[in-house]
Structure formats: structure tokens, C-alpha cells
Subunit: 337 residues, 2 copies
Amino acid sequence: MGVVLNLDGKRAQASVARLVELTAPEMARVNELILSKAGSDVELIPELAKHLIDSGGKRLRPMVTLAAAQMFGYSGEAHVKLATSVEFMHTATLLHDDVVDESDLRRGRKTARMIWGNQASVLVGDFLLGQAFRMMVDVGLLEALDILSGAACIIAEGEVMQLGVAKNLDTTEDDYLAVIKAKTAALFSAAAEVGPVVADASRSDRAALRSYGTNLGLAFQLVDDALDYGGKSSDLGKNVGDDFREGKVTLPVILSYRRGSAEERAFWKSAIEENECDDAALEKAIGIMNKNGAIGDTIGRARHFGEIARDALAPLKPSPQKDALLDVIDFCISRVT
Amino acid sequence: MGVVLNLDGKRAQASVARLVELTAPEMARVNELILSKAGSDVELIPELAKHLIDSGGKRLRPMVTLAAAQMFGYSGEAHVKLATSVEFMHTATLLHDDVVDESDLRRGRKTARMIWGNQASVLVGDFLLGQAFRMMVDVGLLEALDILSGAACIIAEGEVMQLGVAKNLDTTEDDYLAVIKAKTAALFSAAAEVGPVVADASRSDRAALRSYGTNLGLAFQLVDDALDYGGKSSDLGKNVGDDFREGKVTLPVILSYRRGSAEERAFWKSAIEENECDDAALEKAIGIMNKNGAIGDTIGRARHFGEIARDALAPLKPSPQKDALLDVIDFCISRVT
């Protein structure tokens, strides 16, 4: 399992290690299921799916589902199917995202749309979403179906909201939080909540995991946004500047624009709205952000949501799974600090 | 309700009239549900959805679901939700199709992607698919969920298969039938089968409706393919030549290419594979097709599947719903003859 390491590699590795260890036997079954359900007689589907599977995602979301089910004593096999559904929903979203954003690279590799075209990316995304629903139906738990199908709608709404935010520097921090709550946090939330649901845990346990997932997702996305501008370091795994070159209005940009001088605002206008986003512009953008504290404060906001996620789990009795899920919060933040 | 009329308007109108009449009160509720479930605080979603809703589809699929449920004495409200889900699945497919095919027009109106862009079309399609699943989950019938989520996968597989067929004149009739069975017939099949499922009808009744739907769908698609080359008339509602200009390999092309002289095959190669598809080429294509019987035989194949659909319903006891569903077969064929 590839873990994305940044800056302080060892610490990040250690941080997610307990989750990886606790879910290893079930993740092996998730990985088998991913391969078998991405299969199709239509050659292009497994070919494209394999590209995605090999491209080294962390599989954080399915691990969260598995740990959240274990935490409440679940011992069946349904959580493996639900975890796989969650990962397929995520993969389908990535495929459609790359088409929508016209992205050329993801995690340093060519995107599927660059190799097989937009058409295949749209359609294989639809296929994986269909397979995700089939696996949920196979589990047969209407409450889990309700949570995950609800998340599918919210994610799509979030993506549409993001179109409105694109290249729009009038976007407020609140607007932006609404977007990432829908497009990123909703799936983390659903991934966490279906754990206690499948284990038939209490309503308050479900609410705790749901809140954990939502806030973990918000922290995760904000850290990702900060990483795109180099975080606090210049030596990072992620390709710095992808969001900038796509004219994405993320929190570091929002804070930096609002806090900027007239000259700086004019710079952001030309960069984000008029695509003046070459390497020199990126360097200038990072310089401004560091000067006015936009990166540091984006990470601060991420910590804030991380704290809420931590408190959401506070009432639950101690367990290795609880510790592992708390580690994930630190892992997310540690990617950037 | 707009009914697409061709050539012999009165006969086509008469043909679907019984289905329209039988399902009118429930279709009013389907239409309400379509409007409410296409709603979202994200403005672009209802705006784009309204464009689709107003663009005058026949809503044949949800009417089939409603009649198929009535036929077995169903009197609840679940069939209205399932019928709406079916229509949303269809609409989501159209949105993604237009992106994949790079279509400018659908039913003579600008496609959503031409007005709001590919991005919005992909994402609103995802939203509608999500809403379709939520409505199915709301009904809570796992068997219906199984049928419809299975259809979602098969449709996506069919669309991917179609990419392989595009501009490929080596496509056989069998290859092509496999494509349209997945991309078109699977949804008709699911739409028909969930009727008896919601009414808790017998396994043989479900099999009858499933077979009816599959074969109706095949006939429907083949007639559509023939209409694109003008059917047997030149005075038709549909824009003649859309498939030709997109280089689509449909059955009339497959038959015409296989039956053609060396000179004609060279013509098809240049038209379909090299985009030599102006109005003069279209006129020549139609001329060749009429000469070698490709249009007439495509309609003949459609009739063949129409007969199978008719026989599928033969064992069922007489009812106004059965008559109405049989009328639909005639209606489909009558669009072109």
C-alpha cells in the first residue's frame, strides 16, 4: 500500500500505520473485490480501472469504513462490500472531476482522460458508480443505501457549486466551505457512518462517526489546498501549482485575495480570472500567501476541523480503532506541517 | 404531453393514446416528482434540469413502468417513484451521451452541453443519477434496486462498447445488437420489470415483462436508427443525418457496407472513417441504403424484435394495460413505416 509521504515522511507513515495494520486483512479483501468488480467483458473498462487502481491512492476512505465497523464489534463481511462501494464512488468522482477540470495529471501520472479520452472517463465513471450501487444493494441494508446514495447527490451538488466558484474571486470563505463540505466531506462522512450502521450501533454512535467523517474531510481538503501552494515547505510530493494553473479558487487564494493590497488583488485577478499563471506568477502567488499568512491560516482552519473531528469521537470508549481513527486526523494535518 | 409524430401522425397518436390515458393520473404525479427531485439550492441544477424536462421527450419508459405495475393490480405509490427513477436514469444517460458524442442538438433543440458546457452536463447527470437511486432507496424494495442498479451498469458498459464500435465499419450486426441491447434495451427491460416486482407478481410475470422491455427497446433503437436516414419517407420530425454526421456505425450502415460494391465500401470508408459527411454525401448514403435495402431490412429487424415483445406478453390474461403495452410496439414501428 502506497502511503503518500510529505516533508516529514516518517511521522506521516507512523501516523496512519495503526489504521493500515488494523484493517489489513479486510483491505486485502477490498482490493480483491475492487479488481473483480472493475472487471467487464468490455475490455476498456478493466484496462482503465486498472490504471486508476495502480495509481497509488491511499484508500483512506475504505479503511475508515472498516475501522468504524470494527469499532462496534462488527464481524461479518458487509463492511468489506460497503468499503469497496465507497472507494468506487471516490474513483468515479475522480474520473468525472478530471474531465470537468480538464486535468492532465493526477498524482504525477497522466489522467485516464489523457490516455483514453474524456468519453471513456465519463462512461467508466458511470460504470463504477453503478457497480458501487450494486454492491450496496447486495449488502441489502437500506440505511447504508440511504446514506451512500444521499452522499452521491451531495457530492454532485458540490461539484456543480464548484463550477460557480471557479475563477470567481468574490467567493467567500463560507461559500467555499459549503463547496468542500459537499464535494469532499460528504463522502468521508458517509464512509465513517456506514461503519456503525452495518454494526447496528446506536444513533449517537452513528452521529459521532458522521461528525468525525465530515470534519476529517474538511481538514483533509484544506490541507490539500495548502499543499498545492507548497504547504510550509518547498520539498513536497504533490505537484505544486496544479490548482493555481487551473484557476481554482481555494481557501489560500480566498484569504490572500481578501487580505491583499490593491496591487496584490490586481495580481490575483490576472492570475485566476485571466489565466496569467506561469511559473513566475506561481512563485509570486506563494510569496504573497506566505507574507499575508494565507497558507498558515488555511492550515489553522484545517486544525480547527481536526479538533472537531477529535471531539466527535471523545465520548466513545477507548479502542484500538478509535486510536487509529484519531491518528488519521494527525496524519492529514502532518502532510502539510 | 408531447407525442412525437411522424409521417402518419394520426396512427402514431392513436397507437400510444391508450397508454397515455391509462397512466395519466400517475404521470401527473411523476411529473411533479421530476420537478421536485430536480430541485436543488445549487441554481444551475434545476435550471439545466428544466431545460431537459421541457425538451419534449415522450416519457415512454415511466409510462411502461406504471402500466406494468397496474397490470398486476398494484395500487400503492411506489411505482410512481420507480417510474421517476427510470426517467432520471434516462435523462442522466442523455446528458452524458451528448458530452460523449459531442452533440450540438437533441430533438431539434440545443443540447445542455452547448448552453451550460460539458462540465455541468457531466455533473448534473451525476446528480440526477444520485437522485434516481435515492428514490429507489426510498421505495425500499431490494429487488427493484437490484434490477435498476444492474441496468445502470449495463447501460454504462453498452456506452463504452459503443466507443469501440464508433467509426469501425468492421462492426458486425451481432456486435451492434450487443451494444444496443446494453445501451438502450436494458433500461426498457428494467422499466418494464419493476412493474410486476412492485406489484409482487410471479416470477414468470416478471420474466414476461422483462422480455417485453428488452425486445421493445431493441425495436425502438433500430427504428431510431432507420429514422436517422429518413426511414421510408423524407418528411419526418427527426433531424435526418445526425448519426451520419457523427460517424456512428448503426445497423443501416452495417448492412449497407456489407452489401456494397467496392466503390460503395470506399464511399462508406471515407464518410464514416474520414468524416466526409456533408449533405451531398448524406444524400448519396441514403440512395445507396435504399438501393440495397438496408433501411427496409433494419425496419424488418425491428419488426422481428417487436414480434418477440408481443409474444412475451401473450400468456398474460387480457387487460387494458396489456393492450396498451402491445400498442406501444406498434407505435414504435409506426414511427418509421
